[in-house]
């Protein structure tokens, strides 16, 4: 079954976070719909092989959200139940931040500001090879404080990488507070547009909106890289986690885990 039901994905994330006693639940929850839409409808893995040389690329530059990607790779069958159960435990191959040694994960991220450059290299490789491969990259809004993001944006425009779709997970939080408090970003859409990207802002939890925007961008070969500014909610899906940055750092206990699962499984 290839449903990519976002409640199931969030449940898998909760299970990983609880059994692994790990953090970063909030920033995994904010990108669930984005990843679900990509994995369900857009990422092309010929013969279902995430390492096929002509695969589409999906770089998670905000490596802290990797639990959401693990959950999607699990939905797709690329990660086993045992992998998910062992996450974050001694001897597990699934680490707390995105790690390119795992098939399906294209770059080792978590040190922020790396993923867009690697994605640009992959997109350029597809252009040089004259393939139809797309390159998607998810960056965090806090992450775009990093200078190399803007170096990569300049490069993407200069080299006309219209096979590159950047998705900014704009949840409004970074480690120590809101993005407005720490390093105000103004209009992310206008900033990327000023770097000669085609840009659109949408609701990052609306699967139809994401689907339509990605479809429009991936078919528009106008020589310009694309950016989707996805307005999201950190901790989306569990009311007591939403917009509370403490869930960047807090581990679930039995009570909070049970309450979160109950909420996910109810109709709210």
């Amino acid at each position: 079954m290839d449903s990519f039901n976002v409640k199931n994905i969030r449940k898998t994330i909760l299970d990983m976070a609880f059994s692994g006693s790990t953090v970063h639940v909030g920033c995994a929850f904010s990108i669930v719909e984005i990843l679900a839409v990509l994995y369900r409808s857009h990422l092309n893995f010929p013969e279902n092989d995430v390492e096929s040389p002509i695969r589409d690329y999906m770089v998670l530059s905000k490596g802290h959200g990797v639990m959401a990607q693990y959950a999607c790779l699990h939905e797709k069958g690329y990660l086993a139940n045992e992998d998910i159960q062992q996450y974050f435990k001694n001897g597990s191959r699934l680490k707390g931040l995105a790690d390119a040694h795992i098939p399906g994960i294209e770059a080792t991220t978590g040190s922020l500001g790396h993923g867009l450059s690697v994605a640009v290299g992959l997109a350029l490789a597809a252009k040089l090879n004259k393939t139809e491969q797309m390159c998607y990259v998810i960056v965090g809004d806090g992450e775009i404080n990093e200078g190399p993001i803007w170096e990569a944006a300049l490069f993407a425009s200069q080299f006309k990488l219209d096979n590159l779709i950047v998705i900014v997970d704009k949840n409004g939080f970074q480690a120590m507070g809101t993005t407005d408090e720490v390093m105000s970003l103004g209009s992310i859409e206008k900033k990327f547009a000023a770097f000669e990207f085609d840009a659109v802002t949408l609701n990052g939890h609306s699967e139809p909106e994401l689907d339509i925007a990605i479809n429009a961008f991936k078919t528009n070969k106008n020589g310009r890289p694309k950016v989707i500014v996805a307005n999201t909610v950190k901790g989306k899906g569990v009311s007591f986690m939403e917009n509370d940055n403490i869930w960047h750092y807090t581990r679930l206990n039995k009570e909070t885990y049970a309450a979160a699962v109950a909420e996910l499984q109810g109709d709210k």
């Binding site: 040190s111 790396h114 450059s117 690697v118 350029l124 490789a125 090879n129 300049l154 080299f159």
Partner: protein, 298 residues
């Protein structure tokens, strides 16, 4: 040596269209031939070295072989984390060319000088560190880099010091290259890069000195090092690099606890360059010219 580099790079790129040259807007005349012969394989990444290394990682992941060119003050120093995480952690084959290593950019001051690059890189796994001394060693180290499965940092120091060997050199990666062979000599000099030339000026007047060039700092053939070092009274290391963490440290790690001898690392002491001047002036400031060093070997 830069001509040998350009020739080797053009030849390699013509033989393999997967080879790409990425530059951070550096290498003006150096790449004239490359741009003429292989224009499709030339990518100027602009003045943005961190992105350039990430892009190289993406290209390598997709099957290209990127050469990343920069001044050694920037590649690898400015981009150390990108080299570590984007390239070496996945053991991607990217070849970093650090030009002007040591105090070559003497007039420009410490921002453009690189006396810490070997030390900074030695602790990163899956990365070769090569340091050729002359055009022959440049061709040899280029072929080592191309044949390696790992990433390589190729450190190009002062380029116009002439030849220290009289014919092409060969050997496995990690080999040491004899320059003045006198196995009975009780004094051994191990030198790398520009300092091989300085060492040969000293050794030619002194039959009691045996001189080897070390073009491959990592990996290095430890048993060959031990064989060459055995039975010496004095071992001197010459390098245009900090006395901390470079070739000297590398040799010391190999022989410590195994050999007993007088051991001295001659390089840049733990300080930045103080004055403006040409290359010869800076080498004198740091006590690394042949005339100053000859006293040490009397």
């Amino acid at each position: 040596m830069r001509a040998a580099f350009s020739d080797a790079l053009v030849a390699a790129a013509k033989a393999n269209p997967k080879i790409l040259l990425l530059t951070g807007d550096h290498g003006y005349a150096l790449f004239d031939a490359f741009r003429k012969e292989c224009p499709q394989q030339y990518i100027n990444c602009g003045i943005a070295e961190q992105n350039m290394v990430g892009v190289a990682a993406g290209l390598a992941k997709a099957g290209f072989i990127p050469f990343v060119y920069g001044l050694s003050a920037f590649v690898p120093i400015r981009v150390l984390e990108q080299i570590k995480i984007d390239v070496c952690y996945e053991s991607l084959k990217v070849i970093f060319i650090g030009d002007g290593a040591g105090v070559v950019y003497s007039h420009l001051g410490s921002s453009h000088q690189s006396t810490e690059d070997i030390a900074a890189l030695r602790a990163i796994p899956n990365l070769n560190i090569l340091s050729p001394a002359d055009p022959y060693e440049l061709s040899y180290t280029m072929s080592l880099a191309l044949n390696s499965e790992h990433a390589t940092y190729l450190r190009m120091g002062k380029a116009d010091l002439g030849e220290v060997h009289s014919e092409p050199v060969q050997g496995d990666i990690g080999a040491l290259m004899p320059v003045q062979v006198n196995p009975q000599a009780k004094t051994l000099i191990l030198a790398t890069g520009s300092m091989v030339s300085v060492g040969s000026q000293i050794a030619k007047n002194n039959p009691n000195i045996d001189l080897y060039s070390v073009p491959s700092i990592k990996p290095i053939n430890a048993s060959a090092v031990l064989d060459i070092c055995a039975g010496r009274n004095k071992i001197y290391i010459l390098e245009e690099h900090s006395i901390y963490g470079g070739l000297g440290s590398c040799i010391a790690e190999i022989i410590a606890g195994k050999l007993l001898c007088d051991f001295k690392i001659i390089g840049i002491k733990d300080r930045f360059s103080e004055r403006c001047g040409d290359y010869a002036y800076l080498m004198e400031e740091h006590g690394l010219n042949a005339m100053k060093l000859e006293g040490v070997f009397l």
